[in-house]
């Protein structure tokens, strides 16, 4: 599958300072890609370079294989975005705002505007001035303008900011649906990690303008992790495990024994225990949360 978005060694210098160091990543159709990083890590700068608001010092950004630097107008027509807050013309109505953006792309009909308005649930207030909107309603209008021209790549900076829990859930389900059913590639940046975990298929974590790592949700649950064993008798089981993994940290908790092993090693450990006539009542994989992983990779939330 061809990537929708490719960042090739993208670098940004401002003055003598390098803000983004040779960042490379790819986003594919049908996936929701999370963009994580502490404050000041360079998330927004990277997004600004992807949509052509900021120049790229070296490297390139390709959207559907078209360089944003060489053919901006062609590359950007596949992109819908909200960069930071969805700032709209407050003296215009929601509908006039959408009309404004509709005129900037060929082929967006009045019917399409109505369709998008319905989609984001703004029918009742669309003819009111934007200055009367709540933050959540502006967020919905922001999403509407990003979807107007049926983009294949959607870039959303903090899309759930200002929404209530029901609204967050609604947007999350809708984004997942867009990715799965219509094959959009969606980039989401947020610092609400639990939110991201529920929404995204893969994550890039950046810090100090460098890519620290890219992980998928499945990988996250397959990595070296803790497994909680409920066994009887506990003492005998501990000796067995120590024999197989002499260097392992083992803690015996109230609920059972916690061991740190690879996902793939769980069956063999189970077999070893069973062959020693130990009763295994349960094996529970304690998935490392994205938050733990994030803090582990970035070394705490320091602002560079």
């Amino acid at each position: 599958m061809n990537p929708l978005l490719q960042l090739k060694n993208v670098r940004k210098d401002i003055g003598k300072k390098t803000i983004i160091h040779d960042l490379s990543l790819e986003v594919f159709p049908g996936e929701v890609f999370g963009f994580l990083g502490p404050n000041g890590a360079g998330k927004t700068t990277t997004i600004r370079m992807i949509v052509g608001l900021m120049g790229i010092t070296s490297g390139d950004v390709l959207i559907n294989g078209i360089s944003i630097q060489k053919d901006f107008e062609k590359a950007i027509q596949h992109v819908g975005a909200i960069v930071e807050n969805p700032e709209m013309y407050k003296f215009l109505t929601g509908y006039q705002n959408l009309l404004h953006y509709a005129r900037m792309t060929k082929g967006v009909t009045k019917e399409r505007i109505d369709e998008v308005v319905k989609l984001v649930g703004l029918e009742k207030r669309i003819h009111d001035k934007v200055k009367t909107y709540s933050l959540g309603m502006r967020q919905r209008l922001g999403l509407a303008q990003a979807l107007l021209h049926r983009p294949s790549l959607l870039i959303l900076d903090e899309p759930t900011n200002g929404l209530d829990p029901a609204g967050i859930r609604e947007i999350r389900d809708y984004l997942r649906k867009l990715a799965k059913e219509e094959g959009l590639g969606i980039i989401v940046s947020s610092h609400l990690l639990s939110e991201m975990e529920m929404m995204c298929d893969r994550f890039a974590i950046i810090q100090h303008g460098r890519l620290v790592g890219i992980e998928s949700v499945q990988e996250l649950s397959k990595q070296a992790q803790k497994v909680l064993l409920t066994v009887k008798p506990v003492e005998q089981a501990l000796t067995v495990i120590k024999n197989i993994y002499p260097h392992m940290n083992i803690t015996s908790a109230k609920q059972g024994i916690e061991v740190s092993i690879d996902y793939e090693e769980i069956p063999s450990l189970n077999a070893a225990l069973v062959s020693e006539n130990i009763k295994v009542y349960g094996i529970q994989v304690l998935t490392k949360s994205l938050e733990e992983r994030f803090l582990e990779m970035t070394g705490g939330n320091e602002i560079a």
Binding site: L53, E73, P86, E87, Y89, K90, F91, L92, K106, Q145
Partner: protein, 315 residues
């Protein structure tokens, strides 16, 4: 890729959907009315216009007979003299400010107000997008920055044109009501190739309007540039307004001492100096001023375009 027309349509929507714009239009209408009423209240009708014109002629003849009259001024005096003689001969009253046409000609002074309004609109069309944060959503569409900038510039000039038309309409209506239209057939006397000719008054008014628009276009372009460079509305409006009102005076002062003052923008914006007056610095001609204006115009626009196209949007 959107057509430039739909981009201009967008800019128009952003200009005319704001209350401030309608306030400006109301203010324009009010000033035409106020101007007419003040003129009506203060104008003193000369008892005998023929005697006045005759005494003017005598004065001019006296001036012409002096030795050291500059050549340009001398030409101007001679033309006025011929026109005045023609008036007496053909019994054509000079255009008084309390007549329909006289008022319409003087309404051109209100163009300074339009210039101020257009500066506000032009500076706002770029700077406001930055301060509102809407520039981000505006520049991530398949329209090049050049096209967007051009649409904003054209929309600002269209606003100026619209205001000029309104000024003309307002003044005509107000002038007709306040001063009446008895003198509407009055001709405009011009001096052409050594003879005095009768011309259409309407054409003359249009010419006066057009000459007054030089400032308008140059200052709008200047404000547009400042706004694109500094992204600050107040700064752009302030600088352009200051230049508009103080520029000509500073230039006049400089022109008394230095010859190079003729290369300054404001030495060239008043093109009426070649039609019924004397040039600021001797040796300046209409083509010279046109050339200088063109050079400034190109420099302002090129700078605006260059900076707007290259700028990182971090607002």
């Amino acid at each position: 890729m959107p057509s430039i027309l739909s981009l201009i349509q967008n800019e128009n929507m952003k200009i005319y959907r704001r209350i401030g714009t309608w306030f400006m239009i109301a203010l324009l209408a009010l000033s035409t009315l106020a101007g007419a009423l003040i003129t009506k209240a203060t104008h003193k009708e000369p008892k005998n216009w023929k005697a006045e014109v005759a005494s003017e002629i005598k004065e001019m003849e006296a001036q012409l007979s002096e030795e050291k009259v500059p050549k340009m001024y001398k030409n101007h005096l001679e033309q006025q003299l011929k026109i005045n003689e023609y008036r007496l001969e053909h019994n054509i009253k000079p255009v008084a400010s309390n007549t329909f046409w006289g008022y319409l000609v003087s309404s051109a002074d209100i163009i300074a107000l339009i210039t101020l309004f257009t500066i506000i609109v032009a500076a706002g069309s770029v700077a406001n997008e930055f301060s509102w944060g809407t520039i981000k959503l505006l520049l991530i569409r398949s329209a090049s920055r050049t096209k967007i900038l051009l649409s904003k510039y054209i929309a600002a000039l269209l606003f100026a044109l619209c205001m000029l038309l309104l000024l003309f309409v307002f003044s005509s209506v107000v002038g007709a009501i306040v001063f009446g239209i008895e003198n509407i057939r009055e001709p405009y006397l011009a001096y052409q190739n050594g003879t005095v000719v009768e011309k259409s008054m309407l054409l003359h008014v249009m010419q006066v309007y057009a000459l007054n628009c030089v400032d308008l276009v140059m200052m709008t372009t200047f404000a547009f540039m400042i706004s694109a460079v500094f992204r600050n509305h107040s700064l752009a409006v302030g600088l352009a307004t200051f230049a508009l009102f103080a520029g000509p005076q500073i230039t006049t002062l400089l022109a008394m001492k230095f010859d190079w003052a003729k290369y300054l923008l404001f030495a060239n914006t008043d093109l009426t100096q070649y039609i019924d007056g004397t040039p600021l610095v001797e040796g300046m001609t209409m083509p010279f001023s046109m050339m200088m204006l063109l050079i400034y115009f190109v420099i302002f626009n090129a700078l605006t375009w260059f900076i707007f196209r290259k700028r990182d949007i971090a607002a």
